[in-house]
Symmetry: D2
Subunit: 334 residues, 4 copies
Amino acid sequence: MTLRFGLLGAGRIGKVHAKAITSTPGAALVAVADAFPAAAQAIADQYGCAIRTIEAIEADRDIDAVVICTPTDTHADLIERFARAGKAIFCEKPIDLSLARVKACLKVVRETKATLMVGFNRRFDPHFAAVRAEIDKGSIGAVEMVTITSRDPGAPPVDYIARSGGIFRDMTIHDFDMARFLLGEEVVEVSAMASVLVDPAIGKAGDYDSVQVMLKTASGKQAMISNSRRATYGYDQRIEVHGSNGLVSAENQRPVSIEIASSLGYTRPPLHDFFMTRYTDAYAAEIAAFIAAAAGKAPVSPSGEDGLAALALAEAALKSVAEGRTVKLAEVTG
Amino acid sequence: MTLRFGLLGAGRIGKVHAKAITSTPGAALVAVADAFPAAAQAIADQYGCAIRTIEAIEADRDIDAVVICTPTDTHADLIERFARAGKAIFCEKPIDLSLARVKACLKVVRETKATLMVGFNRRFDPHFAAVRAEIDKGSIGAVEMVTITSRDPGAPPVDYIARSGGIFRDMTIHDFDMARFLLGEEVVEVSAMASVLVDPAIGKAGDYDSVQVMLKTASGKQAMISNSRRATYGYDQRIEVHGSNGLVSAENQRPVSIEIASSLGYTRPPLHDFFMTRYTDAYAAEIAAFIAAAAGKAPVSPSGEDGLAALALAEAALKSVAEGRTVKLAEVTG
Amino acid sequence: MTLRFGLLGAGRIGKVHAKAITSTPGAALVAVADAFPAAAQAIADQYGCAIRTIEAIEADRDIDAVVICTPTDTHADLIERFARAGKAIFCEKPIDLSLARVKACLKVVRETKATLMVGFNRRFDPHFAAVRAEIDKGSIGAVEMVTITSRDPGAPPVDYIARSGGIFRDMTIHDFDMARFLLGEEVVEVSAMASVLVDPAIGKAGDYDSVQVMLKTASGKQAMISNSRRATYGYDQRIEVHGSNGLVSAENQRPVSIEIASSLGYTRPPLHDFFMTRYTDAYAAEIAAFIAAAAGKAPVSPSGEDGLAALALAEAALKSVAEGRTVKLAEVTG
Amino acid sequence: MTLRFGLLGAGRIGKVHAKAITSTPGAALVAVADAFPAAAQAIADQYGCAIRTIEAIEADRDIDAVVICTPTDTHADLIERFARAGKAIFCEKPIDLSLARVKACLKVVRETKATLMVGFNRRFDPHFAAVRAEIDKGSIGAVEMVTITSRDPGAPPVDYIARSGGIFRDMTIHDFDMARFLLGEEVVEVSAMASVLVDPAIGKAGDYDSVQVMLKTASGKQAMISNSRRATYGYDQRIEVHGSNGLVSAENQRPVSIEIASSLGYTRPPLHDFFMTRYTDAYAAEIAAFIAAAAGKAPVSPSGEDGLAALALAEAALKSVAEGRTVKLAEVTG
């Protein structure tokens, strides 16, 4: 059985998913929709799919599932529409920048019993997934402390930042999800610090570019996250998980692994400098997992609730920075 | 312009090339031929190409190029036939186990002005290619000494070994080509040692499973190769090139790069255990290079002459083992 | 000119300093004092020095400098006595567990113009010192974010913990000093989280065994510290400093750097499992720096004020945990 | 019981041993002899030992053992004299450049039952010793193939080279000993290649600067050695031992292990650039082993016979280069 996809949004991340869908057995890209005709046309040309309106995709019998890659402020509405239309839904993170709106949306998902998976692609990175697998195998005993390093090669355009919901909701949200994925227990306390060190324009836009966050669970497990919008040496993505019996970690990835030794020392090339090349395998595995979930062969994970939980952590981190104190998660989730 | 391919041989390596062709822009897989109908059918089903006889592919106007993945003893004949038929030819190594037969075959290629590329896939590995690029950039000065480590996870079946031409022609041949690729000057002397340490059955079949080879060029540049049919920790494929100003090396590749630290130490997972997963990127780049060469946009490399040169080195190594002396390459190339 | 030393305290760390003094050119160990005659005797036997009372060392004309390795609660008194006696003073950290007492003690040091150096040995580790040297050379541009990982192989005895002043004053204090050493700007805000994950007995003693801390300077530079009293794989001591142009880091050290590859993967031995073997070079360099400082050839660093500053950060971290909020350093330093 | 040493030769390596002796428990440096009074004086001043003639040291009752660090052409004579004088003897490699002379000397050693240890310091490097320990523990199964990389940061003065006996006797001899140490079975065949790539003056002096050697034992175990008198990145000293169940290797050592990441990539500092800093620990362990052997608490290893065996391999390698063939060791050992 082939899962027939409609792709909503043909931008940068839409292209990533189009490629993943078309190269995954059991998946077919039937149609694409985008407000910009040229973007939709490019996908249609490359993969031989139809161009349709969102309304048509909603109504079409030959579409089983949609991948939502439209701007963030349309996500929740589209999820509700396609949940009611009986389609399986894969939605890029975040569901919405407002916790209340996300909750309302998830209510519709529950009522319609729709399949909703949220795009925390890093869970599907083979290296990070292997870290989790080692935890599950008991290789390090009980998880105690998690350290997540996540540094972007460079900041996005300031106008993107202005409507991104800020660094915690836009960038750290991946790390919040990763922390939850690795801690195996819900976070109850959040403390954060934030600065503008990279670009004053980011500060003028009301955001930060350098942040660190501490998390704690009810039983005392801890996590720390370090984020920057700048890393000259490439896309810095590392995790380490300390447990009662040891440590499991995932190192950075580079496209070419050679080393040059000279009187200057031993030099290896920089890391991947772009999330798409860094997470190529993760995007493919993510779509495969969605197909399995839509077919009922695997649980839906990460779910809409995972999306909500990560957003709540972002909210708590913002509050912690604003009020200079450790915030209990219950304060923001009400 | 799309290069239209006929695939000759639908076995293990044939499948690798079928996948590479169908996922490369500018290439189309039109037809497949194989003595075993089921093998051809599997490729035809997966990629939607026709099943034809070799004769038909030879005659067909809608085929521009062939990929020869049939048994070794058919390579030279097929190259001659398709050279005469005016098709561009990609042939898996070796062209033949006999130097004389290879020479005769290359004569036909020259006379027909056919495009012939030989399948030394490792030149296209992104890490090894990057080593060569650093040499070309002058990063290490003049090349002086090359070290190549190439150890297989396990030995092939003994019946394969019996008709493989022996370890030098079957396995070391890749390293001979790599040495030539990196030295940048023709080898003139060869000395080799060989043992049976892995499996006595290999010795009974008249072959060795553990060999080391030293090479020297006219100006005194040197290379050493270490080969074994056994490596419990995976597919060990390393090169280092020492030059007057430094060293450039390529490390081993593993599918998952995590590390577990415990009271037992720090452990990373084994390497790739199979040439197909190790060299996935290399096979894709190889076909892309062939397409460029067939279109006249790039030189044909590695050429039939490269195939001949590597085979001559294998011949010289065998002679060195048999006679217990350093063999001048001119002795075998006549 | 040789600096003639009196050693106060012949315990574990006293022995380390005795060895460092006796193997450093320009230093001589003249006398040792300890409340336990056997401990003093062991040092006297090994290095051929005299056994004297503290009073005698205070009065002796043949003693230029003292190394204070007695229990923490005697440090401040001894510093004041030997400052008044005109001796150069090297004192193990901390000066005292009370900020007020440290301040009073440093007042005496200032009034007597005594040379006082505090034993933050890690500044003298060749690897950490090299990290600082790269910062000073401008290799990474302006410092932005520091990450310090410091995990002990195992917890000290609970009765030690009970009188240690707690993990922040006993263990994290080294990391607070390291953060100051690397940030190059004073910390103004501290936030900490703390748990008991390793041993409930530590919790019963009123302390924590797993903590994480975030620091921020006035200009927004940040540091994070991760501490645990447990690390099965050895003494985990890493730093990384992110700057506007790059990252400089120091890796862990192991006594033996071999690697075993097998079907289980690639394994390197555990790290050093003891601070004395891990920091052998640091202790030697530390005493050499003290000798240079006592001779007026180098500034006194780390100074008594550095000791005070690190203790203040510990105080602030404790307050942060107790009150669940970010603490301004000014609150504790008054 | 303290072993009382006379040091013969106060040059560069003599100083290394003086330091090792004086910092090793159970050893005392009583006297030094050197043809250059200033050299002897420097040692005497630094360590407070007497200056004596070789004759006096030979006769003195207060000398138990000698360390021979004089020029190579005096080694065999001195060994014989001190063997007859009943002293335990540690002699720097090589015993002599002539196999016949070494054999005659060892005859005297056997007849006098003298303790003679030869200075193959690398066996005592903690990393290489750990490799051997893993072999002994069975961690890699049966040893099959050994690879030794040994590259000097720079060539010695040409006048040194002229009287050194050539690269095989002077430099590769360490690797021959290491190969024997690791193979655990005597070598029976040797094949070598040699070039002048670094400095034509070395060629004019009748020597080579770039060599590679293959060794084979009776059961077919193999070793390969790669040597160069040039390595811009430091003192390159690596070994890897492949066995039936895995691989054990020792990596290079660097004085400072930091890493700088920038847009240029990830750079670690060069290696040690001098054998004395690279092998500091090895020299100390070597003297400790000699003291234990002289006290009868441990076997004498490496012995005079080990010195002879390594020299025979050098002889065979030279013959292999000269005659362009694989040389049986029996040909040179007669």
